[in-house]
């Protein structure tokens, strides 16, 4: 509210508007995205079809037959995101196995970063993460909070598909993969929890702005938890 720069309003074609708060991965910027997303949803603006919050911008998809880019910008400008009661962030603890065969790229990451595998696990597992965005495929959970020591560039060529529930790192970001997809990131662990389930409420593990901690489990625990009906993380 005070001292904040105004966002940029950028058309993305004639049926979508980008409200851009910054160009970096930053908690304060993401907070503003979340606040505006909640305000736009609460206001039920005419013609709005969907909102897509990302790290640093809110994309508003709209029906150009019912409203226009300029009318939507006007409607968004007069919203007061600070006045919308914010959903308090929640915390989730998610079980993760870092042992073979659930951490396919851990050795490769260790040699690239010049760290031991135990160091990597300790660093990844010891951090507190924040959910910044859902994107790429249903349920892919993009996190911030990865320790700087684990910053590894994306692969030059993608690796074969990672299994569902994979914990991925690249480019200073951490990611929980839901469905099996090829990727330019590195798999260093896996959770037995079902990351995305369209029959569950909520369908995803956590909301944007929520925090996540990983709890280490061993391979036997992984097998046992997978065999149960794991649909929620604790917390």
């Amino acid at each position: 509210m005070t001292g904040e720069t105004a966002p940029r309003y950028l058309p993305a074609g004639e049926a979508a508007l980008v409200v851009e708060f910054g160009e970096r991965i930053d908690e304060a910027i993401n907070d503003r995205v979340v606040a505006l997303d909640q305000a736009v949803t609460a206001a039920q603006l005419a013609g709005v079809v969907e909102t897509v919050p990302t790290y640093r911008s809110l994309m508003i998809h709209f029906d150009p037959r019912r409203t226009s880019t300029s009318a939507l910008i006007d409607a968004v400008r007069v919203l007061n995101p600070a006045s919308v009661p914010r959903k308090p962030p929640r915390h989730r603890a998610i079980p993760v196995c870092y042992d073979p065969p659930f951490a396919e790229d851990l050795g490769e990451v260790a040699s690239i970063l010049g760290l031991t595998q135990q160091d990597i696990v300790a660093l990844h597992c010891g951090a507190l993460y924040r959910v910044y965005m859902y994107g790429f495929a249903p349920g892919f959970t993009f996190l911030g909070g990865l320790p700087d020591a684990l910053a590894i560039p994306r692969r030059a060529t993608p690796r074969p598909p990672v299994p569902p529930g994979s914990l991925l790192i690249a480019g200073g970001q951490a990611l929980i993969a839901s469905i099996s997809m090829p990727t330019g990131w590195y798999q260093i662990g896996r959770t037995p929890v079902r990351v995305f389930d369209q029959t569950r409420d909520p369908m995803v593990l956590a909301g944007i702005g929520d925090t996540i901690r990983f709890e280490r489990i061993d391979a036997a625990d992984f097998v046992e938890l997978s065999a149960q009906a794991p649909s929620r993380a604790d917390g």
């Binding site: 993305a12 074609g13 004639e14 851009e20 790290y55 037959r65 495929a137």
Partner: protein, 308 residues
């Protein structure tokens, strides 16, 4: 992929605009009516549609009787065609939709492509009587080759002015890498003024992504909702269908348009599509030799007693 064709089919059938239909690619499709006659309609591209092997126009509405086979094969042009049924395809909804997302296995019939042997349930209204089989005269589906119109942004400032000017003066060829997610084009490389990556941003339909210094990638119906590459501009909604109907090897150009032009073009297309029910012409059940000759389906005609 071609929303105008999809809407044309819905209107021809008197269906709800959101009624589910079948999207058919150049792989083609054959179907028949189980249990009772169905009113079906199809439109999109210039596909080779036939009933029991006898040629039909590329857009039509007709009553399909049990035992008859309606088939679509790739024709002279077009990559996507749509087949609908009065009452709509009545598969269960997922997250409020009947659409299929194959990559995640969600929706449609078991979240996958249709296969031979599949049975599709039909909603109420299927047997509503339309007396005559009809050809749909739909010039808005003719697939004109005018330049594809593009609204600039949101990362047009990531490209040099010379690169942007070049983009609008280049012939682009559609590569084989063209599917529901994205269409990749070959042509001039587009120079970046700033970095090659952005922090992930939302991605709208028709976004023109420039990945590295390579030629454009246009993001289509199954695109990812977010992406980390600069977007030079967006193909306008009124032109997405035309672009989608291109086949690998075909060439197009892009031209710059304003938001106002984009909106006007969409209104114009909507108005044209609304005339569908007024543009139904009685369909002759048998194709005459003259019609077959005119459509290059036969090489010549021998004078016969039936000819007038």
């Amino acid at each position: 992929m071609d929303r105008a064709a999809f809407q044309t089919v819905a209107l021809a059938l008197g269906n709800d605009p959101k009624a589910a239909a079948i999207e058919i690619s150049v792989g083609g499709l054959s179907l028949c009516a189980e249990e009772g006659a169905l009113v079906v309609a199809f439109a999109g591209g210039d596909f080779d549609w036939r009933r029991d092997g006898r040629p039909l126009p590329p857009a039509a509405r007709l009553t399909l009787r049990p035992g008859e086979v309606l088939s679509a094969r790739a024709g002279r042009a077009g990559a996507w065609t749509y087949a609908g049924v009065a009452g709509g395809v009545d598969t269960p909804t997922e997250m409020g939709s009947r659409s299929t997302h194959v990559r995640s296995g969600i929706g449609g019939l078991d979240g996958r492509m249709l296969r031979a042997g599949d049975i599709l349930p039909v909603g109420p209204g299927a047997a509503a009587g339309f007396a005559t089989d009809a050809e749909i005269d739909a010039p808005w589906l003719d697939g004109r080759r005018d330049p594809i119109r593009v609204v600039l942004g949101p990362q047009d400032d990531y490209f040099t002015p010379a690169a942007l000017a070049g983009f609008f003066e280049t012939d682009f060829t559609l590569t084989q890498a063209a599917d529901r997610m994205a269409y990749r084009f070959d042509g001039a490389t587009i120079a970046h003024a700033r970095g090659h990556d952005i922090v992930s941003d939302g991605v709208a339909l028709g976004a023109i992504q420039i990945v590295g210094d390579r030629a454009p990638l246009v993001l289509m119906a199954d695109r990812q909702p977010t992406g980390g590459y600069p977007k030079l501009g967006h193909v306008i909604l009124a032109d997405i269908g035309n672009l989608a109907q291109m086949r690998p090897g075909e060439i197009c150009r892009f031209r710059r348009a304003s938001l106002d032009e984009a909106r006007a073009a969409l209104r114009e297309m909507d108005h044209a599509i609304m005339t569908t029910t007024a543009r139904l012409r009685p369909l002759r059940r048998e194709m005459t030799p003259a019609w077959l000759l005119a459509n290059n389906l036969i090489d010549g005609v021998v004078k016969s007693p039936e000819e007038r």
